[in-house]
């Protein structure tokens, strides 16, 4: 093996000043070309947790379909108008139900995993130091990782309702939407664009979880800690939400507006809650992400 190395050395540009860039970097190196998104995407793609999470998200609608098929219908149809009772009305109703049962926790966990694990796991594997010494500028590394993590999160949040729509349509048919509570019926085609808004809103509302997980990820070597911390926030916030005494202060809890998207599926959609939810989510996540960048830039990487 020694021969090859020597041979290679002979053909390579001679060390020491020749052929290097003005900033002292090796030929072909440019900070802006380091860690392309495609590379980071591939690095994360073949991880087991990615496969497990997506498998779970894609399987859940089918599990629910089976559950509804097995379950014995009690009570007369139309007697109760809860969202769970209307799930079998059609594909869109089913998708709304699937989203409502998963948005609070399952999707939050998925997002927390994708965003909380991304830097912490590199630190845990010790690969972070080699990426930084490659060198990938710290801000760029964080940016690329954030973009890819958010991309995976988006895919997770989108794939569940889409699969639920597919499963629900196959199982219960492409029917008009019955609104929970009032029992009104809205044509399916009218609801479809609103459904897109709903998915978009759920995405934005999970941004806080993503940002917190990312901030924790930057500060720890333990992916579990980052994910757990972000999920812990969801739990604490949900608990605080139940304290009525907090009054309107609760509106500023990061999870408070998580169910506001239900208003978009009413016969007369009300977007005011969603607007507030977006405002709160953007506020928290922008700040948390800024802290993440600031922290990572100053941090001594010892892992």
């Amino acid at each position: 093996m020694s021969d090859t190395v020597t041979g290679a050395a002979r053909t390579a540009p001679q060390a020491g000043g020749r052929g290097v860039n003005p900033d002292g970097s090796a030929p072909g190196y440019a900070p802006g070309r380091t860690l392309p998104l495609r590379v980071e995407f591939v690095r994360q793609l073949r991880r087991r947790r990615t496969a497990v999470l997506f498998g779970l998200l894609l399987a859940l609608p089918w599990i629910l379909v089976v559950a509804f098929e097995i379950g014995v219908r009690t009570g007369r149809p139309g007697g109760s108008l809860r969202i769970s009772d209307l799930a079998t009305e059609g594909g869109l109703n089913f998708a709304a139900f699937s989203l409502s049962v998963s948005a609070n926790f399952l999707l939050a966990v998925a997002v927390a995993v994708f965003c909380g694990d991304t830097v912490a796991s590199e630190a845990g594997w010790s690969s972070l130091r080699y990426l930084l010494a490659a060198p990938i500028p710290r801000d760029r590394l964080l940016r690329q990782k954030l973009v890819v993590a958010l991309g995976y999160s988006t895919a997770a949040v989108v794939c569940l309702p889409v699969m639920a729509l597919l499963a629900g349509t196959l199982a219960f048919g492409w029917n008009d939407v019955r609104v929970p509570g009032t029992g009104e019926v809205i044509p399916a085609l009218d609801v479809l664009p609103r459904f897109a808004v709903v998915v978009g809103y759920v995405l934005v509302s999970q941004l806080v979880v993503a940002a917190l997980a990312f901030l924790l990820s930057v500060g720890t070597d333990s992916p579990l800690g980052a994910v757990g911390g972000a999920v812990g926030l969801v739990i604490v916030s949900t608990i605080l939400q139940a304290v009525d005494a907090l009054g309107s202060l609760r509106e500023f809890l990061p999870t408070f507006w998580n169910t506001a998207w239900l208003d978009a599926l009413a016969s007369e959609p009300d977007f005011s809650g969603m607007i507030k939810g977006v405002a709160v989510a953007v506020t928290y996540s922008v700040l948390l992400i800024a802290f993440a960048f600031r922290r990572f830039r100053r941090r001594d990487v010892v892992a």
Binding site: G24, S25, A26, G28, R47, L128, P137, S248, A279, R298
Partner: protein
């Protein structure tokens, strides 16, 4: 130092936080309001000869001094305790507040006279006298305090009645109260007055029973707690539940007398009157006279002070018509009048406690304290209607919007819209005995209907006739009483027409009459205005209100007609919805005829006239200010966070050092605890050298290497690689290959994929990687395609060194590279490194295998406890005069031990 500073900062922050929290928790939330409980004896009665002791509470103004006074009256069946919270609230706002249990209620003595001018009004006037003697009360003149009265229901009526009989009263806020008690109990939507009215049997029964025998529990709170602004709901203190009370109150453990059971604490005249009308279901002229003596209708034109009339939209006992009549009567005197229809009333609803308090306060602040000068108070509109704003998206609670207008138009609206109704003449049956009865609302159990406007309304089959409009093309906001002209024919049966109150009507007698032919016939109908939508939704009966009407078909005539004023509502009929007018022959809450009958009901003119008040508008509310301000502020703060402290140091390139692979000057790095890992380290590595970095564990070798990679920042000193200063992410690091403190691979990927992806992550051309050569060094063979997690320590080590050599960097830094390698591999590695350096590249190796360094390295740097011990060519070190321990020969190990032993 640094550590201690940080700890101190954290401790300080924690202390401040805890102190803040404790202060916040311990801080007295509200000043306590003092209260003076006192029995005040008054003299009343027609001849001013009855002594009554009133149980009162006086709340001096919280901030001292002389302040305007407010008399706070309680609702029917309540006591002074019912209004205690409201009284304390007003006292805190700087009013002297007096509450009392009216005669016949609570611990006060006397009997209930229904706000008679001879009894209750005289009592209140003497309370005003008492107030005039208090040093806390502001006086307008001798014996004339500055005083307002507020109260709900029974208490609202006494406010109105006292205002008419005592000109010392300066402002009043009567709530959910009556204008004409006779009309409230015997309403007739045909406009023929209480004499022709339909008995409101259920409400009347509840009303009179509350002043009677002991109530069983607090099941029916809507009378006592009717005015949430002044009377907290549920705080009703039933008259009979107060032990020791005089009058008709029954002490526990004692069997009440027959008279007590019959009349409770009512004045016998009132009691007799009620028993008579309740039995017949018709108001006698004497009863109307008695009830009207207790009603503002009898004092028209005598209330000339600012009056804020707050009436409930959900009130089938004292509907909005009463506030309307009061408003017209008072406004006619030129006094300022405000009218507010709120979400509440005797049938439940939200109550809007805080809103009513604010409005009451604003009214009194303006007219009693004189704040805000002339004109009307800015906070109270001439006409306010609480409308449903849907659910708050956050709390999921009902939201109230307040539509306001500068003028109160009355129940006919400022304009009228005609809506065409369709429907042929329909036969309806009056069931014998009036049962089963249709349902509009359940008096006393308004809470059952809930806040969501759940419609209880049920129309019995065969007993109703409906007339419906076409779907509305545009939304219609009805504010007031719609009217419709109805025509009725008697097909069979029916009650004997009375044409007025002509004494007791016996049900059996009426039934007998109905068999006969001829004679006038009475027809009782209940008119409802429904909002119906297409599809499955049930029709909505706004506020559960119904308008009873009694028509008389004269003898010989075929039919009777009447203009029916439908219940006063504020309701928005959405586009696409229909208006439906329904006439039923029965209603659970009212007295329905016992005689079976069949009528034919039709519309005399096929339209409904709906009142509209377009000026009544809800102030437009955009999204809350923070929905845009908060994200904006966050973005600015985030930008500041990211940009602040972002130093882009100039490259500080020193061209003279272009050919020097590594120069370290004064490098220092301390741990958190202040101990120095690297202390003032300086050395230079020239091209072509294989430098050994030697030192025992903890000497600072690895820390130094981390600083070379830009992973950690030195506290002082600098590192230059080829003349470029090393900072995190410095481009010059692309000419550095490194392997420090173990391998770092993605365990789920194969060795080859790891190396390929690593090189792609550097963004450099694939051809520059020399991947195959590096892989050859790793010598992993087929294992290359396996996931790294299956590798042994040695395999990872070799793969990591191969990764460090990717791109054949000009400076290679390896930390303990031979760890985990077997002897042949070690030998090969040694040769690789020597050859690598032979071509003008530079290798820095740290190792604890001294013999290994001795054989591989040309130069050596010895470190101990972060400091440089010695540096120089290995050969020089071995032959130099530093070797003092004779006899053992020139081995690096000896030199090393000697060096550090000396330092230690």
């Amino acid at each position: 130092m640094r550590f201690r500073g940080r700890a101190a900062a954290w401790v300080a922050a924690a202390v401040v936080l805890v102190l803040g929290a404790v202060t916040w928790l311990v801080w007295p939330s509200e000043s306590r309001v003092r209260v003076l409980e006192q029995a005040i004896t008054v003299v009343d009665g027609p001849a001013d000869d009855q002594r009554v002791t009133l149980d009162t509470s006086f709340f001096p103004p919280a901030d001292g001094g002389r302040a305007p006074a407010v008399l706070l009256a309680h609702g029917f069946g309540g006591s002074k305790q019912s209004v205690r919270d409201a009284a304390e609230r007003l006292a805190r706002e700087g009013y002297a507040v007096l509450t009392w249990s009216a005669r016949g209620f609570g611990r006060s003595t006397g009997q209930i006279a229904l706000n008679s001018p001879d009894y209750e009004v005289k009592d209140v006037r003497q309370l005003v006298d008492w107030l005039a003697g208090r040093p806390e009360v502001l006086l307008d003149g001798s014996g004339d305090p500055r005083v307002g009265i507020a109260g709900g229901s029974y208490g609202g009526a006494v406010a109105l009645m006292t205002a008419a009989h005592d000109d010392r009263i300066d402002a009043i806020v009567p709530q959910i109260t009556w204008y004409d008690l006779a009309d409230a109990l015997f309403p007739d939507a045909g406009g023929k007055g209480p004499g022709n009215g339909v008995f409101k049997r259920m409400w009347a029964g509840l009303f009179f029973s509350r002043g009677g025998a002991p109530a069983a529990g607090g099941g029916i709170a809507s009378l006592t707690g009717a005015v949430p602004g002044a009377v907290p709901t549920g705080a009703g203190d039933g008259a009979g539940s107060t032990p020791g009370g005089a009058g008709g109150s029954t002490a526990p453990g004692r069997t009440p007398t027959a008279e007590e059971v019959r009349c409770g604490r009512f004045l016998p005249e009132i009691c007799d009157m009620y028993q008579e009308v309740a039995e017949t279901g018709r108001a006698t002229p004497e009863a109307v006279e008695t009830l009207r003596r207790s009603s503002p209708v009898s004092v028209q034109g005598r209330i000339r002070i600012p009056t804020l009339l707050i009436q409930g939209r959900r009130d089938s006992l004292f509907p909005l018509e009463h506030a309307d009549a009061n408003a017209r009567a008072i406004a006619a005197t030129g006094a300022p009048v405000g009218v507010a229809w709120f979400d509440g009333g005797h049938d439940g609803g939200d109550g809007e406690v805080d809103r009513l308090h604010e409005q009451t306060l604003a009214w009194f602040d303006h007219y009693l304290k004189g704040a805000g000068g002339a004109g009307r108070p800015a906070e109270v509109a001439a006409f306010t209607v609480t409308r449903d704003g849907g659910r708050d998206p956050g709390t999921r609670r009902q939201v109230q919007l307040h539509a306001t207008a500068d003028a109160y138009p009355g129940l006919s609206g400022s304009s009228r819209t005609a809506v065409a109704l369709e429907g042929a003449e329909q036969p309806v049956a009056g069931p014998p005995g009036g049962s089963p009865a249709s349902i509009s609302s359940l008096p006393g159990f308004g809470a059952l209907a809930g806040q969501g406007g759940l419609s209880l309304s049920v129309d019995m089959a065969g007993q109703s006739a409906s007339f419906e409009s076409a779907p509305l093309a545009a939304p219609l906001q009805v504010t007031g009483s719609s009217t419709v002209r109805v025509r009725v024919r008697v097909l069979s049966g029916g009650s004997a027409g009375s044409g007025g109150a002509d004494g007791p009507r016996d049900a059996g007698e009426g039934s007998g009459d109905s068999r006969g032919s001829g004679g006038a016939r009475d027809v009782t109908l209940f008119a409802k205005l429904y909002d119906t939508a297409e599809g499955t939704a049930a029709p909505i009966l706004p506020e559960g209100l119904v308008a009873p009407v009694r028509l008389t078909v004269p003898e010989g005539a075929e039919a009777a007609e009447a203009v029916v004023r439908l219940p006063a509502i504020d309701h928005r009929f959405e586009a696409g919805h229909r208006l439906r007018v329904t006439f039923t022959t029965t209603d659970l809450a009212y007295d329905s005829p016992d005689a079976p009958a069949v009528y034919a009901v039709s519309l005399a003119s096929p339209e409904l006239t709906a009142p509209v008040h377009a000026a009544l508008r809800t102030p437009a509310t955009g999204p809350a200010w923070w929905t845009w301000a908060l994200p904006l502020a966050a973005v600015v703060a985030a930008a500041a966070l990211v940009l602040a402290g972002r130093r882009r140091p100039a490259d500080e390139h020193v061209p003279e050092l272009d050919a020097v692979p590594l120069r370290i000057e004064g490098l220092t790095k301390a741990y958190r605890n202040g101990e120095r890992a690297v202390d003032d380290l300086s050395f230079t590595v020239e091209r072509g050298q294989v430098l050994g970095l030697l030192g025992p564990n903890g000497a600072g070798k690895t820390t130094t290497m981390r600083m070379m990679m830009g992973l950690i920042r030195p506290d002082a000193g600098q590192i230059r690689i080829f003349g470029h200063r090393v900072v995190p992410g410095a481009p010059v690091l692309s000419r550095l290959g490194s392997f420090v403190e173990g391998a770092g691979f993605l365990p789920h990927l194969s060795g080859r994929a790891n190396l390929e992806l690593y090189w792609k992550a550097t963004g450099r051309p694939a051809a520059d990687a020399h991947l195959e050569e590096a892989l050859e060094i790793a010598g992993l063979g087929g294992a290359l395609e396996r996931a790294v997690r299956t590798y042994s320590q040695g395999m990872r080590q070799r793969l990591a060194i191969a990764q460090a050599m990717l791109g054949l960097p000009d400076l290679l830094v390896l930390d303990e590279p031979t760890n985990g390698l077997d002897p042949p591999q070690i030998r090969e590695m040694r040769e690789v490194l020597i050859r690598y350096a032979a071509r003008g590249r530079t290798v820095i190796v740290s190792s604890h295998l001294l013999a290994e360094v001795e054989q591989t390295c040309s130069h050596v740097v010895v470190m101990h406890r972060g400091r440089l011990v010695t540096a120089g060519p290995v050969s020089e070190l071995l032959s130099g005069d530093r070797v003092r321990s004779g006899g053992t020969g020139a081995r690096l190990e000896d030199v090393f031990l000697d060096l550090i032993g000396e330092k230690a």
